[in-house]
């Protein structure tokens, strides 16, 4: 039997007090099994999605708790790159890799808010209140300022006094429906974030 240096040092100590300790009943000294942190996504639900930031449009996989059963609210707990996505192949930039903190941001709006003239801040209100009020304001402005024809009699049929800025992180479907609604109202002050 050969004893290398390290074992010798170990034994040097063990010999003196090792057995004593056990005898004193302080339990096993050598709980050799060390466990890694359990894999936290083992039972989450995966949903394919697209990063909403830049136009590389990386594929992401969103992990939610629960299995979709009715009484379990799916909570988004992790976002990671989609390894199958041809462009990002699972990678994400520091923004994409931190998407969870956008989704769960403390500064997310969770209920409709209203600020009346002169007030210093918002007050929470109901959807019905805001939608009714906005529709009323829009109709009043449209009825007051809609132009059917120009001064020289050319057809205009437009409403120039209410502007609309479309988002660029909304879906194409939202874009199309927005286009339809906005143009049907005659809005021409329409732009989006494309150039800014």
């Amino acid at each position: 039997m050969t004893i290398n240096r390290r074992e010798f040092f170990r034994l040097g100590g063990t010999a003196v007090a090792g057995t004593t300790a056990s005898a004193l009943g302080f339990g096993s000294l050598e709980a050799v099994a060390a466990e890694v942190r359990p894999y936290k996504l083992a039972r989450t639900t995966e949903t394919r999605n697209t990063c909403p930031y830049c136009s590389v449009s990386c594929g992401v996989i969103i992990h939610t708790t629960g299995d979709g059963s009715k009484n379990t609210k799916a909570e988004i707990v992790h976002v990671e790159g989609d390894p199958d996505h041809p462009v990002n192949r699972g990678s994400l930039c520091p923004k994409g890799a931190a998407l969870l903190d956008f989704i769960r941001s403390e500064t997310r709006v969770k209920q409709p808010m209203h600020r009346a003239a002169g007030e210093a801040g918002f007050k929470p209100v109901s959807w019905d209140f805001v939608m009714e009020r906005v529709a009323r304001l829009m109709k009043d402005d449209r009825d007051a300022n809609f132009k059917q024809a120009s001064d020289d009699g050319k057809t205009l049929n437009h409403w120039p006094t209410t502007g609309f800025l479309a988002g660029c992180a909304t879906t194409n479907e939202t874009g199309w429906l927005t286009y339809k609604a906005v143009r049907s109202l005659g809005i021409i002050a329409l732009d989006n974030q494309a150039r800014i």
Binding site: F9, G13, V16, V32, E35, V36, A42, H78, C93
Partner: protein, 299 residues
């Protein structure tokens, strides 16, 4: 603690027994190609996201480094150096974090059984449950990596995502890295990969490009490809020939058995002295002498 063992242990801090070592695991490594790194901090994001870490929001101190240093909740940080080489500006950006040494100074220094383990695949992991917060790992580490949390007095550092690796995935940072500057695989294939990268760099005029896999700590399981491998210290002070400090080596090495022997010898010496010579007791003659002395003086 459950006895389930998802990665085999090769080495365990403050333990005198040899862990089960019959099974052979594939040795893994993370290779960081500094020449491909753009310092985007995706690795930092991915690390925070995966490990549920949220360091405090700091300030800008006139540099890009944020968080400015490693911390209990910042297991990896990018370090930026503006370096001029032959009139040409180079922005040397290094991802700092645990190197997962083959001969880990932290593990050597750790006094708490099982607070630091080295898995058979090369990952060095801190088991916070067993950590007593003494900070010896900080002293033992040649790369200044471990950090002790003020909140819970436990040591933290990169785990190389041992939880991911254990189920066959790559570490979160390696997966996220947009430019492929971080790659993960077996140590052998990472060394091969590095050779290819070094050739490419040499073809682009970096004659001294090379692999950083310091042998002073037995090699590492996090390696770098450097454009200036001859001067690793350019990269925010990456140590040139890191090794476990001789002081720590002595403290945690020879001193232990020597002291034990010394203490044991002292005890034994006492014991044998006592049984051979017996107690040194005062005799009536001594008392008499004392009385005499007193009496003489009194007289």
């Amino acid at each position: 603690m459950a006895s389930l063992q998802s990665l085999d242990v090769r080495n365990r801090s403050a333990s005198t027994a040899v862990p089960p070592s019959v099974r052979k695991d594939l040795e893994v490594a993370k290779l960081i190609d500094v020449s491909k790194c753009i310092g985007c901090k995706a690795c930092q994001s991915a690390c925070m996201a995966w490990n549920d870490l949220r360091p405090d929001v700091g300030v800008n101190s006139g540099i890009y480094d944020n968080p400015e240093n490693l911390g209990p909740a910042a297991w990896t940080v990018m370090r930026y150096t503006e370096h001029e080489e032959a009139g040409r500006l180079e922005w040397l950006i290094r991802k700092d974090g645990c190197m997962h040494c083959t001969d880990p100074g932290c593990l050597k220094a750790c006094p708490s059984p099982g607070a630091i383990v080295q898995y058979a695949n090369g990952i060095v992991d801190f088991v916070q449950e067993n950590c007593i917060g003494c900070g010896y790992c900080v002293k033992g580490c040649p790369f200044n990596v471990p950090r002790i949390s003020k909140a819970d007095n436990r040591a933290y550092k990169c785990t190389l995502c041992s939880d991911r690796v254990a189920v066959g995935q790559s570490p979160a940072c390696a997966k996220a890295c947009p430019t492929g500057a971080i790659v993960f695989g077996s140590k052998e294939s990472m060394v091969d990969h590095a050779q290819g990268r070094i050739k490419d760099l040499q073809s682009r005029g970096y004659d001294k490009a090379g692999l950083y896999d310091p042998q002073g700590v037995g090699g590492t399981h996090v390696m770098y490809v450097l454009h200036h491998a001859d001067r690793p210290e350019l990269y925010s002070g990456l140590p040139n020939n890191p090794e476990i400090s001789p002081m720590v080596a002595l403290w945690k090495g020879a001193l232990k058995p020597l002291s034990m022997i010394g203490m044991g010898m002292a005890l034994l010496a006492g014991l044998f002295h006592f049984v051979t010579k017996g107690p040194n007791e005062v005799t009536e003659a001594d008392e008499e002498n004392a009385r005499k002395l007193k009496g003489r003086d009194a007289a």
